[in-house]
Structure formats: structure tokens, C-alpha cells
Symmetry: C2
Subunit: 329 residues, 2 copies
Amino acid sequence: MTNPSPDMIERMPTREGVLRAAGKMAQLLPQTPLLALDLPDGGIVWCKAETLQPVGAFKIRGAWHRLTDLSEDERARGVVAVSSGNHAQGVAWAARRLGIAATIVMPNDAPQVKLAATRTLGAQIVLYDRPGGEDRDSVATQLVGQSGATLVHAYGDPWVIEGQGSAGIELEAQMECLAEGGPTRVVTPCGGGGLTAGLALALPDAEIVPVEPEGWDDVARSLASGTIQRVARDAPRTACDALQTPATFPINFAVMSGRGLEGLSVTEAEVRAAQRYAFSKLRLVVEPGGAAGLAALLAGKVAADGRTVVILSGGNVDPATFAAIIAET
Amino acid sequence: MTNPSPDMIERMPTREGVLRAAGKMAQLLPQTPLLALDLPDGGIVWCKAETLQPVGAFKIRGAWHRLTDLSEDERARGVVAVSSGNHAQGVAWAARRLGIAATIVMPNDAPQVKLAATRTLGAQIVLYDRPGGEDRDSVATQLVGQSGATLVHAYGDPWVIEGQGSAGIELEAQMECLAEGGPTRVVTPCGGGGLTAGLALALPDAEIVPVEPEGWDDVARSLASGTIQRVARDAPRTACDALQTPATFPINFAVMSGRGLEGLSVTEAEVRAAQRYAFSKLRLVVEPGGAAGLAALLAGKVAADGRTVVILSGGNVDPATFAAIIAET
């Protein structure tokens, strides 16, 4: 079996896998920078600018680790992914580089910039009706059944988790160099928990803090209750399209709860304030979902102790949307 | 004499000085990333993201090299700089770090974001009436006469030129690592010619292409005519505040013309298109003047041969200004 699902998990992700993924990434791409950011209270936080990856998000890590581990036979049958855009671009980028056919199932309300970029990378796009409640996983399952392609899940996949965790290996080495010691705390945007679980494996000695939009804090509630919780059907609208996942998967939950993580949530206004802060202080374009971790820090919901790192996880945002956010005062 | 002027040059900048400045920068700050950017014609250009320096511009380099070479006595008397904002922040940043008092002469129409940032860095600001035609150099000369402070000129200073050139040493090493060979061509925004002259010293084997806004192409005209030309009194308005310099200085001109450089100019619309391209493809905030080099490449005024580097020199822009630019289609 190569297609993990909540019911059929072929293996658990491991720290060894994370280290192997980090080795692959070191061969593939330069490290994204770790930038020092002064906070309004006089403190400092270290920002891992995953917005500067070739596809504008960390998702390239998990996709690369997954696709490079496929057999020749699996590569020939292609891959299928489901994504609002960043995972889509990560898989399309890796597939093009490896000569693998990629089909991406995307919501019809995804940001135009993400749809266009995924097409430019040569992937075939199949739209599903997210506002209308169509089930994306059933669309993907049907595609996989037709073609024998491998489903590369956006977060519920051991390779994907390990790949995302390579960001943790990188930032630890950068902290050792820049701040003479590893991170004590890593604050990260959290959707389905792929990056969060990867960081938890990568950094056993650091506190990992997943941050979700208000009303989409299923991971925080799952960790607090001890069982996987789903987002409510009447969840509020959020600008954080990258974090709109209905529920985490068992392998992600097992890793996160095994480390005893606790989650936080941030408001839409706090997210916008963080985007403005990153614009003016770091000159970085950060999408709403990518700024959730920084939002928690700026709102004082988690402390920066001088050895705290925040992941700026993505920067793919429509120009008009971003213009409206930074012009707001 | 520690205050160079067009008539009194104490020494010429040297490649040895550039290498010494690069050594200091390597001790001070991590390298800014060199990012691969796909061009619309299918080519690639390497972008040196100086927007990610702590003050959002390369100016920190020249200021650091200059201030760290001051004697104890000179440090005690403080420094004076004249700048629309980026050099101001570079000098203020370096001065604060070294415990030196800094006074900055800034135009009263400088971007608010640059005025505020310079104040935050602890510098004293003296405004002059740029739209009214007040001579900034006479304001600075008066301040220097009163205090015995050292004038750190924004470009007409051998240390400043050498310091800016450290960006060239850095990007050459990064190109060797990422592209297995040095740059053949470096395209750079050009105001007074500090960065351009520094790059010319740093990279004797690469073609250096300075780019200015239309109507502010005094360096291009100077290089073409063989003598220093000034910007016309009725020069058109430009959004590139960082490149609004009336004329280059003899030491800059000597280095640039000695290498046989030729300059280019770009329109305001080409600059805005480049800012939008950097926003969507690199997720970087680039100010108008910082995008002039990229504008020349996107407009087809200079070719990218696969080993071409463009400097994204600064990213300090008022939010409302940037919002209007990226929302434009």
C-alpha cells in the first residue's frame, strides 16, 4: 500500500526519516534564511522564511521526500494531490523536476494566484466544489482508482511529515550558528498537522506550538481532549485558506499528542496585523495562513524567550487581498 | 581629513578594501539569500535579496565598514549622514551597535516609513526642505562644522564604496555554490554610484550594469560622455526616492568609467511592473528604487544569460504606496 488513509497507515514517520529528508533538501535547494525580528516589547524572535522557497511555501519539502522515494513503477503511474494551493505547488514542482505526471484536486474557491501557479508548473488541475460541500477526498480516491496513481496526502502521510520536519533540522543548525544554541520553542501555523508533527520529530528538545485560526482549532481541541476532533460544519470564514483542514490524521495526532503539545488560536485581525508587521519589518510577503504563528507572538499568546523561532510558512496571496490588508491601519 | 568631498578625496577605494569589508560583514550578519527567479521568457536570473538586511537595504554594509574604521577620537565626536532613508538607517544601525552618536539630515518628503525607522534606531534627525530646493550638503557641512563629527557620505566615500562592494564578494561565492561558476553580469539600481562602484571593484570579471530612473540617468550620461553630468533641475518626478541623487562623485566616476561601464534607464511603469513581479514570484517587498535593476531585465533592456545577477537593493516603502502598486493591473 502506498496510499495512506486514516484507516490504513503503512508506517509511522520517524526522526531518522526527517534526517534523511533534510539530507535530500540540502542537496536540492539552499536553506531558507532565519531572520532576526525585533518585537514591539523589545524582545526578539527568529523567523524561518519558508515564504522564500521556490513555490513560496514549505510544502516543497514533503513533496520532494515523498516523490523521490517512489519506485520506478510508481513514478510511471503518476501522483495525485489534494490542496488549496501550496501543497499543490509543492507536488507539481517536485513532479516536474522528476518527470512525474501530477494531477491536483483543488477547491474552486482557491486563490487565483495558487491556481495559476500550479498550472504553470505543468500539473493537471481538477476542481471540486468546496463552498458547495463536495468531498475532495472522494474526488481524489476516484482519480487514484482510475489511474493507479499514488495519492500524496497534504499532511496524513509519513513521508510528507518527515519532509516538512526537515525545516526543523535546518533551523536548528542556523540557530546554533547565529545564536549559539538551538531553539527552545518553535511556533508554527498548523492546518492538518504535517509541519507540526514533522517539527516535533525534528526537535525533541524544543517546545512546539501549533497555531490555528479561531474556529478552525481542531488540532488544539484534539490535543486538549485526547481524541481527534473535527472543525464544526458552521465554522466561521477565515482568510487562512492554507489552514482550512477539517481534521488531523491519526499519524499526525499520534506524533503531536505523544509529545504533549498544546495548541493556540488567533483571530483574523491578529493574522492581518502579523502580515503587516512582516511587511514593514521584514519586507516579506506572508499569506494569512503563513502568518498565524507570528500573530500568536505579536498578540502575546505565546512568549518569545530569545531562542524562539516562528515559521513563516507561505507567501502565496492574491495582490488585491494583500493590498487591502497592508493598506488597513 | 576624514570628510571626503568632490574636491578633497583622501584615497581611492580598492579591491583589498572591498575584501576587508566583506570579511567584516561575514562576522556581523548572515548572507542575504541569492534567489533563482524564472523570467517570463523562460530564462532565469539570480536575485540578491538585500531587502532582507536588518535595515531593509544594502546600506548597512558601507556604514559598517566606515564606522568600524573610525578612530576612538572620531567615534567620540559622532557621525553625520545625509539620506532619504536607506543610508540613514544603515548609519543609524551601525552607530547604535557601536555606541556612536548619529545625526541624519533627511528630506522633509522622505517616505514616512524611512523617517520613523531611522528615529527608532536612535538617530537624531535634521530635516531639510527638498521640494523647496534647500541644499542638503550645506546643512550637513554646517552640522559637521559645529560638532567635529565625521560626515559619512551616502556614496562619495571610499569606505562606503568598499562596504557596498562586499555584496559582490558574497554573491560571487553564492553563485559558485548554487550555479558552479561566478556571475557574468550584475544588474544594479544606481543612485550616486556607491554600490555600482563597489560591485565594479568586487567583480573585475563581470559586466556591471547600473540602472537609473528615466530623467535621473546622470550616471549613464556621465559614463557615455566621459565627464560627470548632473540631473536636470526640471527632472520628472520619480517614485525611486533612493535613486534621486543630483550627480555622482569623482571617486565613484573614476571607478565606474575605469571599468568602461554603460548605464541604462527605466520608466516608472517598468519599475512598478518589477515590484509586482517580485511580489508574486519571490514574495518579497521591494521599494521602487530597489526594483530598478529587475525592471531593466523584465523590460528586455538587458539580457539574462543564466549567470546574470540582479540586486534587489531595498524594501522600505510606505504600505499605502505599495498597496496601490500591487493592486494596479
